[in-house]
């Protein structure tokens, strides 16, 4: 692994984060006027909130001073006060992280495993009936609006068949007799959201794995392996698949945008108490500080995840030198 390569990637990520901070600042301050105007537009804002915002951002000072104040507050972990919850944005966001991580984590793991398997089978049996079926399945799930799939599942499984609860993460008002009872209650609530989220991602992963594997099949070392007389199954499993899996590392990171989009929609449909639902509520109530806070934190997390994937990739694939 090349030290310069890593250093370059880290510097690039830092630059991207700075650009995002500037973008974020300008979006919320310059474009519609200033935070004061935004608060005035919000019917839920109290006079105290208006006064506090005015003092907080130094609104009478030039923009670069305001930007400095903004960065200073950020570094102190101060993201402002939510109009809707009347609490610090940081605290509101922190209380919603775990449900999202749980939902996205489980959904992503299932999607990666099943998607990869589908991709392998499709590439291996290229052009055959099973490939066409799997490919169509992948393309159809990939073309579906996530939220729509979620609503259809709710209408069918929860309302029509009454198999699963429609909303939330736990049954309200229920006291659990054991930890196991609590886990099973959460699992019951999680089933449909996870199913929706992973279904829309499976298609994407399957298509990428299929392409990656088809590319690997044209490599010389595969021909060599066949020439050595290894059986097909062995070549696919031991030579082709491990190499085709490499790009999946970066794809999982690149796809985070897709996963987050999925989480926002799924959490909205199922009233899952995570960051996605929080963003929907912030949007609905025009809670700009909260919206800005979520946007900033999610974006920085994605940038860092991409950096980690880059480093992992260059560690796994020695061909990446520069």
């Amino acid at each position: 692994m090349n030290k310069n390569h890593i250093l370059k990637k880290i510097i690039q990520s830092v630059i991207t984060i700075i650009l995002v901070l500037i973008l974020n600042y300008f979006l919320f301050r310059i474009m519609p006027g200033n935070p004061l105007q935004m608060i005035m537009r919000n019917p839920k804002a109290t006079p105290e909130a208006i006064a506090k915002t005015k003092a907080l951002f130094g609104l009478d000072k030039p923009w670069y001073v305001q930007f400095g104040i903004y960065i200073k507050h950020l570094l102190q972990g101060d993201l402002g006060t939510s109009f809707l919850y009347k609490k610090p944005v940081g605290a509101v966001i922190a209380s919603r992280v775990i449900p999202t991580v749980l939902l996205v984590g489980v959904g992503e793991i299932i999607a990666v495993i099943i998607g990869t398997l589908i991709g392998i089978v499709a590439a291996w049996k290229r052009g055959q009936k099973i490939d066409v079926t799997l490919l169509s399945f992948s393309l159809i799930t990939y073309s579906m609006p996530t939220f729509w799939l979620g609503i259809v599942f709710v209408a069918f499984f929860s309302v029509h068949l009454k198999l699963f609860p429609t909303t939330g993460m736990v049954t309200p008002g229920l006291t659990y007799t054991s930890t196991l009872a609590k886990i099973s209650d959460i699992a019951r609530h999680m089933f449909l959201p996870v199913l929706t989220l992973s279904l829309v991602m499976i298609g994407e992963y399957a298509l990428i794995m299929r392409n990656s594997l088809l590319d690997v099949f044209t490599e010389d070392y595969i021909t060599t392996a066949y020439a050595k007389g290894f059986p097909e199954k062995y070549v696919v499993r031991k030579h082709a698949v491990p190499n085709a899996l490499l790009p999946m590392v970066t794809i999982v990171a690149i796809n985070l945008g897709l996963v987050i989009a999925g989480a926002i929609q799924v959490e909205t449909i199922f009233s899952w108490p995570g960051l996605g639902r929080l963003m929907y509520d912030a949007l609905k109530n025009r809670d700009y500080p909260l919206l800005q806070g979520i946007f900033l934190i999610v974006t920085i997390c994605v940038i860092i995840a991409n950096l980690c994937a880059d480093m992992l990739y260059s560690y796994l694939d020695p061909r990446v030198k520069n």
Partner: protein, 292 residues
């Protein structure tokens, strides 16, 4: 010389059409898309519908019946009518947003690849930022700030989805500027603008075209999602907006499948058609795939 060039181009196009005709996926995509484009243009004439015409109380979420093939929505309006008038809006937003995205992506890609050096570094950092920022939160934030008019939605989608195109176009421009004809044009004193417009642009065009199809699919999905999440323009009800009202009015909990399913199925059909077309073009145009 000029004639020979034209003939060669014509031959290329004919060959492309020939291979496209034998591509099953491409043909299915083209047919589905053709139907929806027909509906978008002529639908409102064949099947008149006024979104402002609300039904009476007994029409609210009425199941399909005589005179109302697909039942009615939460306001007692005809679902089929909403679907047809929504076709025009969804397609128009998707296509206009794609055009913006293509123009921005191509300009940035060509400039970045052609000039190289510092221009390239700055433009690509900027492009990377747009690639890495999660797209839905960005679109939602922009839409929330700009306000939900249909033009803002088009602008928001167009201005956030060009980064992929810019990257691909840049790579192509990089290789084209090293070709002989660019050297030749330079040596006889052609300026940068002339070279970019007359030599680089025509050569990146097939790539831009193939990208247009894939971005269209993404743009239509984006519009649907934005409208669903309440960021759409209520005066221009698209399919996404219909689904927004279906969700908000609890169509799922009363089992009003006639209101829930059709708009979503239309989105799936159109996005799938674009994806099929994209795949077909990729298979025909991408020389690397032939080896497989």
């Amino acid at each position: 010389m000029e004639n020979a060039k034209k003939a060669a181009r014509k031959r290329k196009i004919r060959k492309f059409i020939e291979s496209f005709k034998t591509n099953k996926m491409g043909m299915i995509g083209a047919i589905i898309l053709g139907i929806f484009i027909f509906l978008a243009i002529f639908g409102p004439i064949i099947y008149p519908y006024d979104p402002m015409q609300f039904g009476t109380a007994k029409d609210v979420m009425a199941p399909p019946g005589p005179g109302r093939i697909l039942g009615s929505d939460d306001m007692g309006r005809d679902v089929l009518g909403g679907l047809i008038s929504g076709t025009r809006i969804s397609l128009a937003v998707g296509i206009l947003a794609t055009i913006i995205s293509m123009v921005v992506g191509t300009i940035i890609g060509v400039a970045s690849g052609y000039y190289g050096g510092r221009t390239d570094a700055i433009l690509m950092r900027f492009t990377d930022m747009f690639l890495v920022i999660p797209w839905l939160p960005l679109m939602l934030v922009l839409a929330a700030i700009l306000g939900s008019s249909i033009w803002n939605i088009i602008l928001v989608i167009g201005l956030t989805s060009w980064a992929g195109t810019a990257r691909v176009v840049r790579a192509q421009a990089l290789s084209i500027k090293e070709r002989q004809f660019v050297e030749r044009a330079k040596s006889i004193g052609a300026d940068d603008r002339h070279i970019m417009v007359k030599h680089i642009l025509p050569n990146v065009f097939p790539l831009v075209f193939a990208n247009t199809i894939l971005v269209s699919a993404v743009a239509i999905l984006s519009e649907t999602t934005l409208s669903f999440l309440g960021m759409g323009d209520p005066t221009h009800p698209s399919w996404g907006m219909m689904l927004h009202f279906a969700f908000e009015s609890g169509a799922a909990s009363v089992g009003a499948f006639w209101f829930l399913l059709p708009p979503g199925l239309c989105v799936v059909a159109v996005v799938l058609a674009f994806t099929f077309l994209g795949y077909a073009f990729d298979e025909i145009l991408n020389p690397k795939l032939e080896r497989r």
